[in-house]
């Protein structure tokens, strides 16, 4: 099928001359000339077989003209196809450009700067100028760019499964608009959106078709915060949390660090309150009440482990305690019956309440989206009682969405009252509550039109399917959490001619202007006036300054709250035979939208470190009780028992994973896996990963339910995890102290007092050549990682993967311990299996000054440069792998296969296809390789797309070579060159601090990773390294790493029943026969001072 990119609309402004090239390309003269001049590229023009890939390549290579200010995305070929006859202004070939845009997610958006290399977006970074962002992102955002180049995304317009053209679809939409009449029988099903343009179009449609029905559905829905606030305050409001302003945070099953919305924001805010510069600095304290082991629980100073269904009781118990003491006895009485069911530790709640009461106005109680409305109401009441509104929570106006639920729509479909069903995005056939039987119900509409990113479960076999454009291909707008208006700018012409939601709605509304650009421009005019300059500034900055929502004052409406709360009944207590099931948003798949995203599939879950699938999580005790416990024997392929879970007549099957820290008799099921059916292709990446937890999820039990049974099938299932061993064995790898210990410590640096052995002081026979080389280096690069700030969210891992072209290796190779992540997050548990403390440590190349890897390489493939970088020369590496064996941090990664050129299914052993006998596309692999060694065995569609996502500044490694973190040397060099150019004759070649960031640093919302010039005492990294928490991992080996860590500080409340004098890891360290670093500080301090 020839898919010639559709001609793009002529923009209002911006250069137009590139349009002529397309015309030119069609003339015979041009073809002849091109063939003569550029045979390699141009021959593809006339070759009908490869024309498709050529066109794809071309369309992917087109830049937005005129800094993205031009209006519509207009195409410009890259230099290697045609030379520029006239260089577009400001364009330098090979120099990446950044465009401000945003990633829309449900009711909010992540402000972004997208990097474009010669017309193809290659990396997403947070927009640091945005008033509510520091440039950090979450892992979902980092991975979303890969979806753009997903070869399995919907690429065609179909009617009843037959391919149609875009024009056909547009015609159909036009007819629909004309024939809809009053809109009776016309129903929409959409996801949530914060787009003012969509809201405007929705309004137009509802005006024009008053009888049309609009429904919204999100499988993972965070709207409950708004619902509760609206009910509690009697006005349409939604809360906006200022976690950074809170010194006491209580999370009631709220995984605001890992699983709630706006992670980039809440992690930043939380980490800000966590960071200490010196002794005596304040630090927030986090209490978590939860059933599953979440990232929030992992970062909590105190964690109360109770079943998720018992959290309402815990909330009520906490509320009773606080309300009684703050003089709201009447509300406490309402909650008393619910509070009685609280199963946990009374003293825990009492002391937690006391802490909150002692910090009135500086506390914050949060409830998670999984919890019912009652818990959210209680939380609102609590925050009012604690005077937290106005300081740690703001209320923002939030109009009630005029939308029905998916259940209403299903009912209407069953009643046959829906003629035309328009599905905008989403995948309801997969993720709608199971009791709705959506796949069947959907077919009941006379006409189904679906705009979808994939041809997946919801693909209408009868009706229209339109490909949805990726957000990097679309014009749009959105509002971030604080209400700031952000633009969504395309960086590339839709690769497969996809349509945006806005265009589709505009066409249905029968509007004149259906170009999304015009729609967004028009909306902007309505919001901020019509000035072109304002518009340009809006696009350039990536946000509209001052458009954040104004916070409003609310008055609690106690009768409404009491009424809502009075009806709340206590949940049954889960037992071994009536297990509690909790559905949670997966840390990687989200609700399933990243299922075909290889980076996300291979990203280890921050808690379980599991890749490529989901598991049935349960506590170790429960697993033992049920006879499905498996001792972790550190075997590569862990054989987990395969069990069946039955709940209300529905069942699923999956492997068991015993999770330390999980509540007993609770089962955690991650959503988003187990995609099994699709008319075309489920996705070559996500295929067969995990089980579908949605199959158990019903309208009544969207988040948790009690009463499930587990049966052991007796079968086993192999799992791939990246870190089996959970304990540190008392080794001082991560060093921790409590805030009290830290503040009382009299020595120089308590973290260094953890050293088991002091590094030997010796007189070298000859000086380290680096010491001399250093004098020639302008900079000395180094990194400091603050373990107090790091929450383990893993954004850095995905950012690194995206920046450095790190390949994925597939489930089987992960089981062989061959994952390629340059940066990994080590996760350790300390303490008991029931109530462990979890700690994270980002581990990457330490860039040792005396690097053990360097002197064992026989071919000089890894050497030191004068700026202190341990550099890896891929071209020189022969792959003896000795460097990895000798690396104490084990951060080197080896290309056991040609990961970049082999399709995933060829990476599943134990028998691999060999090019000696295998053919791809009917061509013998060896011959294929001979003709073009770069082509590999990937199907051509995948290959053509995947090579577009690669960062051109970083080599793509072949098989047989070692690779590792380079401190983003391409960014270092870029900055140094730019500075040298700027310096000119002045000689001022020092790159100022903060000019650039490494990819991990940039993605880190917690600002835990800081990189810079350690030769400059004023740089941020030098300041961090000068702190009294700074230490080297494995100090005694004398490797002198350039990457150092800042010890983690915990802030327990000494009055709590689970208070601890020292963190469990420190305890473990001492129990292993080491000296107590805090008792021997006089001695250690002296030594540290001396040496």
């Amino acid at each position: 099928m020839k898919t010639i990119p559709p001609p793009c609309p002529v923009p209002d402004v911006g250069p137009k001359y590139w349009r002529s090239l397309d015309q030119l390309a069609d003339t015979p003269e041009f073809r002849q000339w091109a063939e003569r001049e550029f045979p390699a590229g141009a021959s593809e023009l006339t070759d009908p077989v490869t024309r498709r890939s050529f066109v794809k390549l071309m369309s992917a290579s087109f830049l937005l003209a005129g800094f993205g200010l031009a209006g519509a995305g207009c195409r410009r070929p890259v230099e290697n196809i045609y030379p520029f006859s006239k260089m577009p202004e400001g364009y330098v070939h090979g120099v990446a450009k950044f465009y401000a845009t945003a990633m829309p997610v449900r009711n909010t958006a992540v402000p972004l700067l997208a990097k474009s290399n010669d017309g193809r977006p290659t990396k997403l970074e947070g927009n640091p100028q945005h008033p509510d962002s520091n440039g950090g992102t979450d892992r979902y955002t980092q991975a979303s760019i890969l979806d753009l180049y997903d070869p399995d995304r919907a690429t065609r317009f179909t009617q009843d499964g037959n391919a149609k053209t875009r024009d056909d679809a547009v015609d159909f939409l036009g007819q629909l608009s004309k024939q809809a009449g009053s809109g009776k029988g016309l129903s929409f099903l959409a996801g949530q959106s914060s787009s003012p343009s969509r809201a405007r179009l929705q309004k137009v449609i509802s005006d024009k078709f008053p009888d049309a029905r609009w429904h919204e559905f999100e499988p993972v829905d965070f709207d409950i915060h708004r619902q509760a606030a609206t009910l509690a305050f009697g006005q349409p409001v939604a809360p906006y949390f200022k976690i950074d302003a809170a010194s006491i945070i209580v999370s009631l099953d709220s995984d605001f660090i890992g699983g709630e919305e706006n992670l980039y924001l809440s992690i930043r805010q939380f980490a800000k309150g966590r960071r200490t510069e010196k002794k005596g600095d304040p630090m927030n304290r986090l209490y978590a009440v939860e059933g599953l082991m979440t990232l929030t629980g992992a970062n909590a100073d105190h964690r109360l482990r109770i079943p998720t269904s018992a959290v309402p009781a815990a909330a009520a118990r906490l509320a009773v305690e606080i309300l009684r003491q703050s003089g709201h006895g009447e509300m406490a009485d309402v909650l008393q019956p619910l509070a009685k069911a609280f199963p946990g530790n009374e003293k825990w709640i009492v002391e937690c309440a006391a802490d909150l009461l002692a910090n009135k106005g500086r506390g914050l109680v949060l409830a998670g989206h999984r919890q019912p409305l009652a818990v959210h109401l209680i939380v609102n009441v609590l925050n009012v009682a604690l005077d937290n509104f106005g300081s740690t929570i703001l209320l923002q106006p939030a109009p009630e969405p005029k939308a029905g639920s998916i259940a209403d729509l299903a009912q209407a479909l069953k009643d046959k009252s829906v003629e035309t069903l328009i599905i905008l995005g989403g995948n309801p056939a997969y993720n709608a509550p199971a009791d709705l039987n959506w796949a069947e119900v959907q077919a009941k509409a006379k006409t189904v039109l679906r705009l979808g990113y994939y041809e997946d479960e919801s693909f209408p076999l009868k009706g229209w399917s339109l490909p949805l454009a990726h957000f990097l291909e679309s014009w749009g707008d959105a509002r971030t959490a604080d209400g700031t208006l952000v633009p969504i700018q395309p960086l590339i012409e839709p690769l497969f001619g996809g349509m945006t939601e806005l265009e589709l709605l505009a066409r249905i509304a029968g509007m004149d202007k259906t170009s999304p650009y015009d729609i967004v421009r028009e909306t902007f005019r309505g919001i901020a006036g019509g000035g072109d300059e304002d518009w340009k500034k809006f696009l350039h900055d990536g946000f509209l300054a001052g458009s954040a929502a104004k916070s409003i004052k609310g008055r609690l409406n106690p009768p409404a709250v009491s009424a809502a709360l009075a009806s709340e009944v206590t949940a049954a207590v889960p037992t071994k035979d009536k297990l509690e099931v909790v559905f949670y948003r997966d840390y990687r798949m989200d609700d399933g939208r990243f299922n075909n995203n290889g980076w996300m599939q291979e990203l280890p879950d921050p808690i379980t470190k599991l890749t490529w699938e989901n598991v049935i999580l349960m506590s170790v005790k429960t697993a033992k009780d049920l006879g499905v416990y498996v001792e972790n024997n550190e075997n590569n392929r862990i054989q987990a028992p395969w069990v069946k879970i039955q709940l209300n007549g529905r069942e699923i099957e999956g492997p068991v994973w015993p999770q330390p820290g999980q509540a007993d008799n609770t089962i955690g099921l991650a959503l988003g896996y187990g995609r099994t059916y699709s008319p075309r292709c489920i996705g070559r990446v996500g295929h067969n990963s995990g089980f579908n937890a949605y199959a158990l999820r019903t309208t009544k039990n969207l988040h948790f339910a009690v009463g499930a049974q587990l049966t052991n099938t007796g079968e086993k299932h192999a799992l791939s995890i990246t870190q089996d061993h959970g304990t540190m064995e008392g080794r001082p790898i991560i060093r921790e102290a409590t805030l009290a210990e830290y503040n009382d410590y009299k020595g120089e640096n308590f973290a260094k007092a953890f050293d088991m052995e002091k590094p030997p002081v010796f007189m070298p026979l000859y000086p380290n050549p680096l010491d001399k080389a250093k004098q020639a280096g302008h900079h000395q690069w180094g990194m400091a990682i603050d373990l107090s700030s790091c929450v383990g969210c893993s954004s850095c891992m995905v950012a690194c993967q995206s920046e450095n072209n790190v390949p994925i290796v597939g489930k089987y190779q992960v089981a062989n311990n061959r994952e390629m992540h340059w940066l990994r997050i080590d996760r350790y548990f300390t303490g008991s299996v029931e109530d462990p403390q979890m700690i994270n440590q980002p581990m990457l190349c330490q860039h040792c000054e005396s690097a053990p890897c360097e002197n064992v390489c026989p071919v000089n493939a890894t050497v030191h440069d004068q700026e202190g970088l341990n550099v890896m020369i891929y071209n020189r590496c022969v792959g003896t792998r000795y460097c990895s064996n000798n690396c104490p941090y084990k951060v080197r990664r080896f290309n056991f296969f040609d990961y970049n050129r082999r399709p995933l299914e060829q990476l599943q052993g134990p028998v691999y296809t060999t090019p000696l006998t295998h053919s791809t596309d009917g061509e013998w692999d060896l011959l294929r390789w001979w003709k073009d060694p770069d082509r590999g065995n990937k199907p051509s569609d995948e290959w053509e797309l995947l090579k577009l996502v690669k960062n051109p500044d970083v080599s793509v490694r072949m098989r047989g070579v070692m690779e590792k973190c380079s401190y983003c040397i391409q960014r270092i060099q870029g900055a140094e060159i730019a500075q040298k150019v700027k310096a000119g004759a002045s000689g001022d070649v020092l790159v100022p601090d903060g000019t650039f960031k490494t990819a991990c640093q940039q993605a880190c919302p917690a600002e835990a990773i800081v990189f810079g010039n350690i030769a400059d005492p004023d740089s941020r990294v030098s300041q961090l390294k000068a702190q009294d928490r700074n230490y080297n991992v494995l100090d005694f080996l004398n490797t002198k790493p350039r990457t150092t860590y800042l010890a983690r500080i915990r802030n327990p409340n000494p009055k709590m029943p689970d208070a601890y004098v020292m963190p469990f890891s420190t305890d473990e360290f001492i129990k292993k026969g080491n000296e107590n670093p805090f008792e021997s500080h006089g001695h250690a301090g002296k030594e540290a001072a001396n040496g």
Binding site: E634, N635, N636, Q723, D724, H725, T727, R731, I733, E757, Q813, N816, N817, R818, D826, R827, Y828, Q841, M843, P852, N855, V856, C857, P858, V859, N860, R876, C877, V878, G879, T880, R881, Y882, S884, N885, N886, P888, Y889, K890, R892, F894, N895, F896, F897, D898, G909, P910, Y912, T914, P915, L916, M958, R959, G960, V961, M962, L1034, L1037, K1072, G1073
Partner: protein, 486 residues
């Protein structure tokens, strides 16, 4: 020492009385050495017996051994082809165990390659004449073992086609190998050892090749043996030059015996991995290598002497002596194991301690205890003469020694790596079918060469054996004065 009767000067008057009391003992029998060649075999018989193996119709047992060996060798090369075309990932390694069977096999084969040169060079310098019956076969074994060993470091690297970068070849980029890397030293050590071993072996072969030439019954054989015997006529001058050259080469080879495995051990001890980072490695590796080398010589020669009816040349005494060497080196190895544990404890370094506790009690404890059984306990049985002289038992024990030494390398390489500094990396290594087939395949390679060696080259140094027969002694009745001939 003979009993001495001390006579002191006696008084005349007492003389008569005294004389009666004097007991004149018969002089003790002179200790008789066991002859090197039993049954007073003649020189002609020796030539026939040894050269006969490589002459005449190929026996059936040879084909029965040769065909499976060739098949296994083919499997080895197929696996290598597969490995090169797909990637090193067809083997088991992954982090943290980046070296797996390849390096285990390499060190194991190299170790086996130690006995030959030790026997031919060091024992030659030490005038241990019993070496003559076994040195030729042991040297051949050395060469083939080093060939098998040499394959592994070459194919285990990620980009085999750039393996030549490990050699200091001048190039346009002016990039040299990194001389600080022990892998680099390995290249020199192993290639030197191989070259000298081949030279030494060939040197020793020349007079025997001449024997073969002279016995040859067809032109092709005559030509071929004639070509390789380099015009040997057995003149005094030839013998004189030959003896000198042989002595010089023995002198050259002797340090190599010690250096090769010392350097191989530096592959490990230069690193800082607990379990590798040990100063005891060089002597301990050399002892282990000699231990395994003698184990392999025993495994090869015990069946051979039986099948080829060479019991009169490779006598029980030879086997016993080799058992004693095995016992001595096995005890050194056992001592080294003990010292490693002691040092790990004595160092006070928790990482080091953990590494050794993990060896004995961790997930791979089975491998460790296999090693201890085979390398420490089994050789102690050689204290008993009954065991040393029971060929079947010695054969089985020698196989166990080889298994034990393979596990020693496995213990060092895999167990040390699989749990090192950072618990987050810990993992479990498993070989794949390709690992196993490649290793088994090298046996095919080894035996193919060894069987060819049996059929074409005298497997025992004819001239040297003749030199230690009684007849060679000019004082023997048949040409020499005494029986036994020394």
């Amino acid at each position: 020492m003979a009993d001495a009767v001390i006579s002191k000067p006696l008084a005349q008057s007492d003389a008569a009385n005294q004389v009666a009391g004097i007991v004149v003992k018969a002089p003790p029998r002179e200790l008789e050495r066991e002859p090197m060649v039993r049954n007073q075999r003649s020189i002609g018989w020796i030539s026939d017996a040894i050269a006969g193996v490589a002459e005449g119709k190929t026996p059936r047992w040879w084909w029965l051994a040769f065909i499976p060996s060739v098949i296994m060798m083919t499997a080895c090369f197929t696996m290598i082809l597969y490995l090169v075309s797909v990637g090193v990932g067809v083997w088991g390694p992954g982090h943290p165990v980046m070296w797996g069977w390849a390096i285990v096999n390499f060190v194991w084969w190299i170790g086996i390659g130690h006995a030959g040169t030790l026997i031919s060079a060091i024992l030659f310098l030490l005038r241990q004449k019993w070496r003559t019956s076994i040195n030729r076969a042991a040297e051949a074994m050395t060469i083939f073992a080093v060939m098998c060993a040499g394959i592994f470091p070459v194919i285990h690297i990620g980009r085999i086609w750039f393996g030549w970068w490990l050699f200091p070849i001048p190039n346009g980029n002016d990039i040299w190998p990194q001389f600080r890397s022990p892998l680099m030293w390995d290249v020199f050590a192993v290639s030197t050892y191989f070259t000298v071993s081949v030279l030494f072996w060939y040197m020793g072969l020349i007079p025997d090749l001449a024997v073969m030439r002279d016995r040859a019954k067809n032109k092709i054989r005559k030509f071929a043996y004639g070509l390789f015997s380099l015009g040997w006529t057995g003149s005094n001058r030839h013998w004189s030059n030959y003896e000198k050259a042989y002595l010089i080469l023995a002198g050259l080879s002797t340090p190599l015996v010690l250096s090769v495995h010392s350097i191989v051990s530096l592959d490990f001890s230069v690193s800082q991995l607990p379990g590798w980072h040990t100063t005891i490695f060089p002597p301990y590796f050399v002892a282990g290598a000699v231990f395994s080398g003698f184990g392999m010589v025993l495994s090869l020669l015990i069946p051979l002497r039986r099948v080829l009816r060479l019991e009169d040349i490779i006598t029980l005494r030879h086997v016993e002596l080799m058992c004693k060497v095995t016992l001595a080196t096995g005890s050194i190895v056992g001592y080294a194991y003990g010292i490693e544990f002691f040092i790990a404890w004595y160092s006070g370094n928790p990482y080091e301690r953990y590494a050794f506790i993990n060896r004995a009690t961790g997930h791979y404890a089975w491998a460790y205890w296999t090693m201890i059984t085979c390398n420490v306990i089994v050789p102690q049985l050689f204290w008993f003469k009954k065991i040393r002289t029971n060929m079947l038992v010695v054969f089985i024990l020698s196989i166990l020694v080889n298994i034990g030494m393979w596990f020693e390398r496995f213990v060092i390489v895999v167990i040390s790596l699989h749990r090192d500094f950072m618990p987050s990396n810990w993992g479990y290594f498993r070989p794949t079918w390709v690992d196993i087939l490649t290793f088994l395949g090298t046996f095919g390679l080894f035996f193919t060469f060894f069987l060819l060696f049996l059929r074409f080259v005298p497997l025992i140094a004819i001239s040297e054996v003749k030199g230690v027969t009684p007849q060679a002694d000019p004082h023997h009745p048949l040409g020499g004065a005494k029986k036994g001939g020394h």
